[in-house]
C-alpha cells in the first residue's frame, strides 16, 4: 500500500468540502483527480499533504498513518506538492530555489558554516535542464514568465526527490499549447524518474492521454474511480461532469 485515504472528511463550519473519500493511489501510477471547480479537489490535496487537518477519517502513506502529522514531516516521508497558485521564491534565483529543495531533502539545512552554493550543483543543473530552465538559472523567481514560474515550482519540488509528487492544477492559467506540453512533461517525469504522480485538473479532456487512473470528485464526494475508459463510460460522471458532451 502506497497512499490511501480512508473515509476522509473535511468540514469548514457547515460546509462539507470533502465527504468520506476512500481512495488508494498505487506506486508508479499517474493518477488524476478531476472534477469541476469547487468539487473539493484542492481540499482533498490539502488533507493528504497536511495543509488542512481532516475532520474525520485517515490518511496512510507508505504504511504509516499520517493523518495528524505536520506538513514538513509528511514531506520528509517522501511526498512533495505544488500549489494551485504558484508558490515560488520571488527574490531567490532560479538556481537557489531548486537548491533549497535539495538542501532540505538531503538534510544539510542545520549546517551553519559550510557554503550552500558548494552543494549538489550537479543535481540542480540536471533538474534545471530537465525542466528547461537552465538558461534562466541566475534570474530571480519573480522575473520569469508565468509558465516558467510553474515549471520552477515543479523543479523546486523535484529537488526534494519525492516518491510521490502532488501537483495541484499544474496547468492552471496555461494556454492549450502549454497545457499539452505540461502533460507530456508530467508523463515523461513519471517514466524517467519512476515517480508516482497525483494531480488535479478541472478540464477532463486534457488528462485522458496521460493518466493511468482517474478519480472524479463531485461536491466533495467520490463518484467514480478507475481506468480512463471506465470513467468516461460512467453514467454518473457523464451526467454531472461531461454534460451533454459525451
Amino acid at each position: 500500500m502506497f497512499l490511501q485515504t480512508q473515509k476522509i472528511t473535511k468540514e469548514f463550519g457547515k460546509l462539507t468540502a470533502v465527504h468520506e473519500v476512500s481512495l488508494e493511489i498505487f506506486k508508479g501510477d499517474v493518477h488524476a483527480i478531476i472534477g469541476p471547480n469547487g468539487a473539493g479537489k484542492s481540499t482533498y490535496f490539502n488533507l493528504i499533504t497536511g495543509y488542512h487537518r481532516a475532520t474525520s477519517g485517515k490518511v496512510l502513506f507508505k504504511g504509516k498513518e499520517i493523518t495528524h502529522w505536520p506538513a514538513y514531516q509528511r514531506c520528509k516521508l517522501g511526498m512533495t506538492r505544488s500549489f494551485q497558485i504558484t508558490s515560488i521564491y520571488p527574490k531567490l534565483s532560479v538556481y537557489e530555489s531548486v537548491l533549497m529543495g535539495l538542501l532540505s531533502h538531503r538534510k544539510v539545512t542545520p549546517n551553519l558554516f559550510s557554503s550552500a552554493k558548494g552543494y549538489f550543483s550537479e543535481e540542480v543543473w540536471q533538474i534545471l535542464e530537465g525542466v528547461g530552465l537552465a538558461d534562466q538559472a541566475n534570474l530571480s523567481g519573480d522575473s520569469i514568465s508565468h509558465g516558467d514560474k510553474k515549471r520552477l515550482e515543479l523543479a523546486i519540488t523535484l529537488g526534494t526527490e519525492p516518491e510521490l509528487l502532488l501537483l495541484d492544477e499544474p496547468t492552471c492559467g496555461m494556454s492549450p499549447d502549454e497545457t499539452e506540453g505540461t502533460m507530456i512533461f508530467i508523463k515523461r517525469l513519471a517514466e524517467e524518474r519512476g515517480l508516482t504522480i497525483l494531480f488535479t485538473e478541472h478540464d477532463m479532456s486534457v488528462v485522458f492521454g496521460i493518466a493511468k487512473r482517474i478519480s472524479v470528485l463531485h461536491q466533495g464526494t467520490l463518484i467514480a474511480d478507475g481506468k480512463p475508459e471506465e470513467v468516461r463510460a460512467n453514467e454518473e460522471v457523464q451526467k454531472v461532469y461531461l454534460g451533454g458532451a459525451a
Binding site: T80, F83, S87, I88, T109, F113, S114, S115, Y119
Partner: protein
C-alpha cells in the same frame, strides 16, 4: 574589504582619541545591527527587542566584573551565554508569530526586562547603573581595547558571513521569501526561526559584552526600546538586503550622531529627517541604491559592447 580593515587598523595612529572612541562604538554597535539584520534582512522578521539581549549581556559582564571580580574572558562568555538563553526563552514564544505581532512581542519582552533591571535597585543598581567596569590591565588603554574590539568584530563578522551563506542561511532566506513553500519542502519553520533567534541573541549579547568594559559602565537605558530602534534604523539606512548594509548604516549613524551633537542636542530630529530621506528616495538603503546603480552600469556596458 581588506582595505577597510587595514584602514581601521591604522586609524588609532591617525585620529584623535575622541574619534577613536566613536570608531570603537561604531564597531560594537555594528554587531548589534548585524544581529538585528539576521532576523530582518535574512529571515524577514522585524525584532524590536534586540536591546534586551544586548543589555542583559552587558549587565552580566558588568556585575560579574565589579561584584565578584570574575575572570574577564569568562565574564564575556557568560554574558553571551545569558543572552542566548534569554533568546531561547523569548524566541520560543515569538517565533510562532508573524509580522507586526512578532515585532510587538519582542518589544514587550524587551520592555519587560528593561523594567526589571530599572526597578530592581538592590540587585542591578536601578537607574544608577553600574560603574567602574574595567577590562584587565593589558586592555585598559583605549587603543588596546579598540584593537581587541576590532579583532572580535572582524572574526564575528566573518563567522556571520559564513552563516548567512550556509545551508542554514539559505533556509532563512527561503522562509523570508515564502515560508509556506519552505515548510512544504520538509522544513520545520518554527525550529529554524528559533535557531536564528538564538544566534541573533548571541550576537546582540556579544555587542553588549564588549560594550560594558568599553564604556566602563552599564545603564538601564541600554535595554530601553529606543536602543532596540537603533539597529532597525541602521539596517534601513544602510540597506537590509545586503550583508554589509547595516554596518554601513551603523557607522553613518554613530559618526553623524557624534558630529551633530557638536552643535545641537536635537539629534532625533536630524536622524528622523535622514531616515525620511532614505525611505522616500533610497528605499533599498544606501548600499541597496549603490547595488542597483552598479547593475545598471554593467548592463549599459554590456549593451554598448554587444
Amino acid at each position: 574589504m581588506i582595505l577597510l580593515i587595514l584602514a581601521a587598523a591604522v586609524a588609532p595612529f591617525l585620529i584623535s582619541e575622541f574619534y577613536l572612541a566613536i570608531l570603537g562604538e561604531a564597531l560594537i554597535m555594528s554587531l548589534l545591527a548585524l544581529s538585528f539584520n539576521l532576523l530582518f534582512g535574512y529571515m524577514g522578521q522585524l525584532s524590536f527587542g534586540q536591546a534586551a539581549f544586548y543589555g542583559l549581556s552587558g549587565y552580566t559582564v558588568a556585575m560579574l566584573l565589579t561584584r565578584i571580580h570574575f575572570n574577564f574572558w569568562l565574564s564575556l562568555i557568560a554574558g553571551i551565554l545569558m543572552a542566548s538563553i534569554l533568546g531561547l526563552i523569548i524566541g520560543y514564544f515569538c517565533v510562532r508569530l508573524r509580522g507586526i505581532y512578532f515585532s510587538i512581542l519582542t518589544l514587550a519582552f524587551g520592555q519587560l526586562l528593561f523594567f526589571v533591571i530599572y526597578k530592581w535597585h538592590d540587585f542591578t543598581g536601578g537607574d544608577d547603573g553600574i560603574q567602574g567596569v574595567f577590562p584587565p590591565d593589558f586592555l585598559k588603554s583605549h587603543i588596546h581595547y579598540y584593537f581587541f574590539v576590532l579583532v572580535v568584530f572582524v572574526l564575528a563578522t566573518f563567522v556571520l558571513w559564513r552563516i548567512v551563506n550556509s545551508p542554514f542561511g539559505y533556509t532563512l532566506r527561503s522562509m523570508r521569501e515564502n515560508s509556506e513553500r519552505t515548510e512544504f519542502l520538509g522544513i520545520p519553520i518554527a525550529r529554524y526561526q528559533l535557531m536564528a533567534f538564538v544566534v541573533a541573541a548571541a550576537y546582540a549579547g556579544l555587542a553588549g559584552a564588549l560594550w560594558a568594559p568599553f564604556y566602563r559602565s552599564m545603564a538601564p537605558s541600554s535595554l530601553f526600546w529606543i536602543k532596540s530602534g537603533e539597529p532597525v534604523m541602521a539596517a534601513i539606512l544602510g540597506g537590509p538586503t545586503l550583508f554589509f548594509g547595516p554596518i554601513l548604516g551603523m557607522f553613518i549613524m554613530t559618526f553623524f550622531h557624534a558630529w551633530v551633537l557638536g552643535f545641537t542636542v536635537f539629534w532625533p530630529v536630524v536622524m528622523g529627517a535622514l531616515i525620511l530621506v532614505i525611505i522616500f528616495f533610497l528605499p533599498g538603503g544606501i548600499l541597496g541604491f549603490a547595488e542597483v546603480k552598479l547593475k545598471e552600469r554593467k548592463e549599459t556596458k554590456k549593451k554598448e559592447s554587444g
